[in-house]
């Protein structure tokens, strides 16, 4: 097993984490960061310590978890549908999860701790509903043509987004925050959202990485996979459930962030090949780093104002999406 790619990605992740803690409306020099972390001369850096503990660390943790979840579930969807464009955002799962989360929020679930923990469940139900509808609409016999998948995804996504907007307009107060949330603002502060998605992300990603061999087999098509001994229906369902749970957890408190689940698996595939046993953990690490870096950019571009991170990922991701579409069309390299 090759260790080196993991090592590089861990380094990148570490760098991204440091940047994410250091950069913001108040810049914290790495030296102060070091002092805070080691607990030396705390009175000099009391303000920095507060910013780090109350604001930067939880935000960094939330963004990293979200990015990891999107990278991992994006890889799983691509492998499951054998389609290079099956990203949680493009196939509408993210919008469905968003609708579920907003529905839960509009009936004021998050005001108790258990209510907060249940928001990802509502997002999960929304995600499952959309993924089944999109799959049923796009399927032709046993194949899932790219165009159908994207068209069905866009249509259902638009529908879910419209419902989401409707719910948000009806609900009173906090509207601005909800809109920023929907664009992927990560503006939820504090440790509660981190705690609320942590079990789902850990469970989801922990399960997904076990499916590497299975996803490899599925690349040969359902029939050959079954002839090689795979219980195709059962494993497909399991992967779909797990990937949707992971996506839902990401969306529940970070909003709809596009293209991370598309770009990251592709870069990893170009770099390290198509073996899903490697691709899944690499995309998880890569997703966390990529979203952290995008979030840092979102904080500095119009500082002191913050951009929703979804704008950054879309600006970087849409051209990449077109490139993949073109490449998939020309060479069928998938």
């Amino acid at each position: 097993m090759k260790i080196r790619p993991y090592f590089y990605l861990l380094l990148l992740l570490l760098l991204a984490v440091i940047l994410s803690i250091a950069i913001g409306s108040v810049f914290i020099p790495p030296a102060d960061l070091w002092r805070v972390l080691t607990g030396k001369s705390p009175q000099v850096v009391a303000q920095a310590a507060f910013i780090i503990a109350a604001l930067r660390l939880p935000r960094t943790a939330l963004v990293a978890l979200t990015g990891a979840a999107l990278g991992g579930s994006g890889t799983a969807y691509q492998g499951l549908f054998r389609n290079p464009l099956a990203d949680p955002y493009l196939i509408g799962v993210a919008s469905g999860a968003g609708l579920g989360a907003v529905a839960a929020m509009s009936i004021q679930w998050p005001y108790t701790f258990w209510g907060l923990m249940a928001v990802p469940i509502a997002a999960f139900l929304g995600a499952l509903l959309t993924v089944f509808i999109v799959y049923a609409l796009a399927r032709v016999g046993k194949t899932l043509p790219t165009t159908n998948l994207i068209l069905a995804g866009v249509a259902i996504s638009a529908f879910a987004s419209a419902l989401t907007s409707f719910l948000m307009l009806r609900s009173t107060g906090e509207l601005r925050r909800a809109i920023a949330w929907l664009l992927g603002g990560s503006s939820q502060a504090g440790w509660e959202p981190v705690l609320a998605i942590l079990p789902y992300v850990l469970l989801g990603l922990g399960t997904l990485v076990l499916f590497g061999h299975t996803l490899n087999l599925l690349q040969f098509g359902d029939e050959q996979a079954q002839q090689m001994g795979l219980n195709v229906t059962r494993t497909r369902t399991l992967i779909l459930l797990t990937a949707s749970l992971t996506t839902a957890a990401a969306v529940a408190f970070s909003g709809i962030i596009g293209f991370i689940g598309l770009i990251v698996p592709h870069i990893m595939r170009l770099w390290q090949g198509s073996d899903y046993r490697r691709l899944l953990p690499l995309s998880i690490l890569g997703g966390a780093s990529a979203l952290l870096l995008a979030d840092v950019l979102a904080r500095v571009i119009l500082a002191p104002q913050e951009l929703p991170v979804g704008i950054i990922t879309a600006l970087a991701g849409a051209p990449f999406f077109l490139w993949v579409l073109r490449k998939a069309k020309n060479q069928g390299y998938w």
Partner: protein
């Protein structure tokens, strides 16, 4: 030994196989011939358990297939599928290693014994030198040999092949069928081979089954099945059957369709 009893398969309301019964003994190659659309591929796919069966039963080494989980089935039957679309990015080695799936745990961890099997399988099809190549870089014929190696790595007593010579040039057609014949003889495999080329069937099969419109029209040794009457009627084309100049087999010569 593969034993198919009164197998019926329908696509929607259209019957594709009607009460097909066929036995393939260990150590024997049975060729499945018949015109396009006769149901040859469906028979192979149904025998491997990937097509829902309307009636009848399939026995593999004495076990009824419908009672087995996919993994148990994959230890009894391996398949070389027709013109399969293969994911181009895997290497030849990775692809053949996946044939070991029925013996692996859920994570797909392989042992040295598995790797040894893969090496042997690649050697058998003369493709060990291709190990590191990606599937997408291979010619159609090379891909076909890799698929056969994958089936061999699966180490099953029954081997099903669907048009394995379709993409092969003359040399590899003969090479592959000699290999398949050798597998039946040496490793005592039961081989069911769907094939278009009647003369290859005549030369390499012990028994020939003629499938027309979902029914077995004739079953027997090549001389009994590859006759002027049976073949002309099945393919709607006048043919002549003459003795092969140097092999102990009949030779079918197609006439003109007008």
């Amino acid at each position: 030994m593969l034993n198919i009893e009164n197998l019926s398969v329908s696509y929607g309301s259209r019957p594709v196989l009607k009460n097909v019964s066929l036995q393939v003994n260990s150590g024997e190659v049975v060729a499945l011939i018949g015109p396009n659309g006769a149901g040859k591929s469906t028979l192979i796919r149904a025998a491997s358990g990937v097509v829902p069966v309307k009636g009848g039963r399939i026995w593999a080494d004495g076990q009824e297939l419908s009672t087995l989980a996919p993994m148990q089935r994959a230890r009894l039957l391996s398949v070389v599928p027709q013109a399969a679309s293969l994911p181009p990015a895997f290497s030849v080695w990775e692809t053949v290693l996946m044939g070991r799936t029925p013996y692996l745990n859920f994570l797909g961890q392989t042992s040295e014994a598995d790797e040894e099997r893969v090496k042997q399988a690649l050697q058998r099809v003369d493709a060990l030198a291709l190990s590191e190549r990606r599937i997408g870089e291979l010619s159609g014929g090379e891909q076909q040999r890799v698929l056969l190696a994958r089936a061999l790595a699966q180490s099953t007593p029954i081997l099903l092949l669907d048009e394995p010579t379709a993409h092969l040039d003359l040399q590899y057609q003969v090479h592959l069928l000699e290999l398949v014949q050798g597998l039946a003889r040496r490793d005592n495999l039961a081989v069911l081979l769907a094939v278009h080329d009647l003369n290859l069937a005549a030369r390499y099969a012990d028994q020939v089954a003629l499938l027309v419109e979902g029914e077995i029209r004739a079953f027997g040794n090549p001389r009994q099945v590859l006759t002027q009457e049976l073949i002309s009627a099945a393919y709607h084309l006048p043919v002549q059957v003459v003795p092969h100049p140097f092999a102990d087999a009949p030779l079918v010569l197609p006439g003109s369709s007008v």
